[in-house]
């Protein structure tokens, strides 16, 4: 059977024609088609991916929540909005996103950096929160990645490429994010001397399990009955008491979950402090992770991606995810 249809005028469809709002159009004009540019969010993670080029023109994405649909569990937001402001809007309907909240950190910044919240175990990674993005490309055009729905496999998944790209593929102006219900109860507890792997194997409500080499913290999250029952079971593994979460050391290491659960101060020169995210693999430490080697094949693909999307290297020059 012949499935090919008479071709519609390019971009004539309802999805393709979906309006680019004025704020986004202005952002695209500001980025323009030439000259090095970097986008500034809240500036909270400028340490990531190398220093930017000081010559680059600084642009800022527009701000504001455009559309929040609690019954769809989606929110459309401009990338310059702070995650804190966004979450305040969502909280009114008992929802939030998987994006980490950092003082003055923006939605665009959180997506570009791609680092997940310490509650990734429960919330999922940032990359799974982005459903659709509108970004300004190296030619100054507005490009749409993804779909306006919670599920989509229409074409290549450009959203995944954008998350964690440090603004080197395109500058995100607007995002449609998946939201999640805020659970009935969330409670941090701590036990000295508990075994983190056993806690991971046991707990059914943990949205985060942190371990500093001696104590284990658990963020028990869910229905009150479940949290109570879970904490009852966890009592067999340690003396869990209500506590504040630990302060996280400034540097982020990326490990496998197994190696995070067997992390030790010897990896930090003997006396370093660390807090490991159990079941996830991120380790927060007081010194930076030694540079990781990328395989030659993966490095080549990374270079090809950058070359195809930003041939002149004008987007966030100097930075490399």
């Amino acid at each position: 059977m012949e499935l090919t249809a008479p071709r519609a005028a390019p971009g004539a469809g309802p999805g393709a024609a979906a309006a680019v709002d004025e704020a986004l159009a202005e952002f695209a004009a500001e980025v323009g088609p030439s000259g090095p540019v970097c986008v500034r969010g809240g500036g909270t993670r400028w340490c990531q991916g190398g220093p930017g080029d000081p010559e680059a023109r600084v642009v800022a994405a527009p701000a504001g929540v455009i559309d929040f649909e609690p019954a769809e569990m989606t929110v459309r937001v401009r990338a310059g909005t702070t995650v804190a402001d966004l979450h305040q809007t969502l909280a009114a309907a008992g929802q939030r996103t998987a994006l980490p909240v950092r003082p003055s950190g923006t939605v665009g910044g959180a997506l570009a950096v791609g680092e997940s919240s310490p509650a990734r175990l429960g919330l999922g990674p940032v990359r799974d929160a982005l459903l659709q993005a509108r970004y300004v490309d190296a030619e100054g055009r507005v490009v749409t990645a993804g779909a306006p729905t919670v599920k989509n496999v229409s074409g290549f998944d450009l959203c995944k490429l954008l998350v964690g790209s440090l603004g080197t593929i395109g500058l995100i102006g607007e995002a449609l994010l998946r939201t999640r219900p805020i659970p009935q109860t969330e409670r941090w507890v701590r036990a000295a001397g508990a075994d983190p792997k056993s806690v991971l194997g046991q707990s059914r409500t943990a949205a985060s399990i942190l371990w500093d080499g001696s104590a284990v913290w658990v963020l028990a999250s869910g229905y009150e009955v479940d949290v109570e029952a879970d904490l009852g079971e966890l009592a067999g593994l340690g003396d869990f008491e209500p506590a504040d979460p630990p302060e996280l050391p400034p540097h982020r290491w990326s490990c496998s979950p197994a190696s995070a659960a067997s992390f030790g101060p010897e990896r930090l020169g003997g006396d370093g402090r660390f807090v490991a995210e159990i079941g996830v693999g991120v380790v927060h430490a007081d010194r930076p992770q030694p540079p990781r080697q990328m395989s030659p094949g993966a490095a080549r693909l990374n270079d090809q991606i950058k070359a195809r999307f930003d041939p002149t290297g004008r987007l966030n020059p100097g930075r490399r995810p």
């Binding site: 971009g11 599920k151 998944d157 995944k160 869910g222 479940d226 094949g297 693909l301 090809q304």
Partner: protein, 495 residues
């Protein structure tokens, strides 16, 4: 374009028949005679998938047994200027595995081992030909499973799931394939092997793993996959709510989500679906229902009970005539048996069916289902709705008899209108079956030329010469280097 390609292929094949094909000889030398089939029967079997697209033409079909053999096939195909199409179980519904222009087909079903179960990292390294359900069976003893559960899970492969970023009923709460794959070993079109992603929390560089998943065989061939394993929930409650009509069932979906719950699954079946399913599978669905919802919640005992109570209340408030909560595992299995056998049941109804796949916002479900019914009526086609309602993923099944003059054209016309109403409702072309050839020429209804240009850049970063599964996903003006001009440059290139 497709027609042109197959005519060119026919000429080339005809010319070759008179002497031994050097391409086949090279493949046999690399893989051994048992792993290369070039006879007409084998090529016919590899020419189609489960979609209605029937114009595929396969070249030699290879059954590699290792990553090295996949590399060898890629290099040989490159040397002979031939395209390569990876193939899993062929259950795809968008023509993704249907070869265009007689390429070398790599059937991955022989690479079906579980390579390693790594409990400390809760992942398993598996080969791409492993059948989806077999994976969950193999890790069941550890209280774990692979969350994506396409309705085809008894047959479809992990490689196909990765290539199509497949979903399934339980992806509502757990997420689709992309959320459950940590890393993929890929053979690129030049034969190089590269591991995308990794077991570490934040692998460096761009998320090439995420970019590869859903790339429908256009970015390379997955030869090993690190899948994440999900602990089985301690408590599961499965409910069947019966409604007088589909609109009230659809309204329940939005109301449940708005109530702050994300059930494990919400599946909707309309009156016709209930009738054919009951006839075929005897799942115990009320035969007089205008629609049913199959809803599952899970978690710990207390929370699952709270959610089940809320679901029952919301369903009743939205007009459910009855809500049954499965009393035991046997009843639960029976309720799911109905849903999982729906497509088999439809096959009893008419000789042919076209299983469509679009997504709409949950709030538009009722309106779009009604429009779909109206479209089908107008074209004189019967439509049956069985779909993942929780995430707005419609699957209208158009059942028909292709022997009736003009019927195939009517089905195609109805299919196109379903796309139009879904997109007009703020939806998407495909929720899980992919674009393949089926929806390739509709891509520009959803994406602008700049959007498609960027999708093509991603594809070309992986495969600059477009030798992987050419002619799929991207409409030709946005497809790289345009296949037609390559063909003109070398008559044998796509033949």
């Amino acid at each position: 374009m497709t027609g042109l390609l197959s005519r060119a292929a026919g000429r080339v094949a005809g010319r070759r028949r008179s002497r031994p094909d050097p391409l086949v000889a090279d493949l046999v030398a690399a893989l051994g005679p048992d792993r290369v089939q070039a006879d007409a029967a084998a090529r016919y079997l590899a020419s189609r998938d489960a979609s209605i697209f029937s114009e595929g033409t396969a070249g030699p079909v290879c059954f590699p047994a290792s990553t090295e053999q996949v590399q060898a096939c890629m290099r040989i195909a490159a040397r002979h200027h031939r395209a390569v199409v990876p193939r899993g179980a062929g259950t795809g519904l968008s023509g993704g595995a249907a070869p265009l222009g007689s390429p070398v087909v790599l059937s991955m079903t022989g690479m079906n081992s579980v390579l390693e179960v790594d409990l400390d990292n809760r992942v398993a390294w598996v080969q791409p030909g492993l059948v989806n359900l077999e994976l969950s069976r193999r890790v069941a003893a550890h209280g774990l499973h692979f969350a994506p559960d396409p309705s085809s899970q008894q047959a479809c492969t992990i490689g196909g799931n990765v290539a199509n970023n497949s979903g399934g009923p339980h992806c509502l709460a757990y997420g689709v394939t992309s959320a459950h794959v940590a890393a993929v070993e890929v053979v690129l079109s030049d034969g190089e092997v590269v591991v995308l992603g990794g077991l570490e929390a934040e692998p460096g560089g761009y998320d090439l793993r995420g970019a590869f998943i859903g790339s429908e065989g256009l970015c390379g061939i997955a030869t090993a996959v690190a899948v994440r394993l999900t602990p089985n929930p301690p408590a599961v409650k499965t409910m069947l709510a019966a409604y007088p009509d589909a609109a009230s069932a659809a309204a329940t979906v939005g109301a449940v989500i708005a109530d702050g719950m994300v059930p494990a699954a919400i599946e909707l079946m309309d009156a016709r679906a209930v009738a054919v399913i009951e006839e075929f599978a005897r799942a115990g669905y009320p035969r007089d229902a205008g629609a049913v919802l199959l809803i599952e919640v899970d978690g710990m005992d207390g929370g699952a009970a709270i959610q089940a109570d809320r679901v029952v209340a919301i369903a009743s408030a939205n007009g459910a005539a009855s809500v049954r909560v499965a009393a035991d595992e046997a009843e639960r299995a029976r309720l799911w048996k109905g849903r999982k056998n729906a497509f088999g049941a439809v096959a009893n109804l008419e000789p042919d069916y076209y299983l469509h796949d679009t997504v709409v916002p949950r709030s538009k479900l009722a309106e779009v289902i009604e429009a779909v019914g109206e479209i089908a009526d107008r074209h004189g086609v019967s439509v049956i709705n069985v779909f993942h309602a929780g995430d707005g993923n419609l699957h209208p099944i158009l059942a028909y008899d292709s022997r009736i003059e003009g019927m195939t054209e009517r089905v195609a016309a109805a299919g196109e209108e379903i796309i139009e109403v879904s997109l007009a409702a703020g939806g998407a072309l495909s929720g899980e079956h992919g674009i393949g050839v089926e929806k390739r020429d509709h891509m520009d209804k959803m994406f602008s030329p700049a959007d498609l240009d960027h999708q093509n850049r991603l594809r070309q970063a992986f495969d600059p010469h477009c030798r992987m599964n050419p002619g799929k996903v991207l409409p030709s003006p946005h497809s790289c280097a345009d296949i037609a001009s390559l063909k003109a440059a070398d008559g044998a290139l796509w033949g």
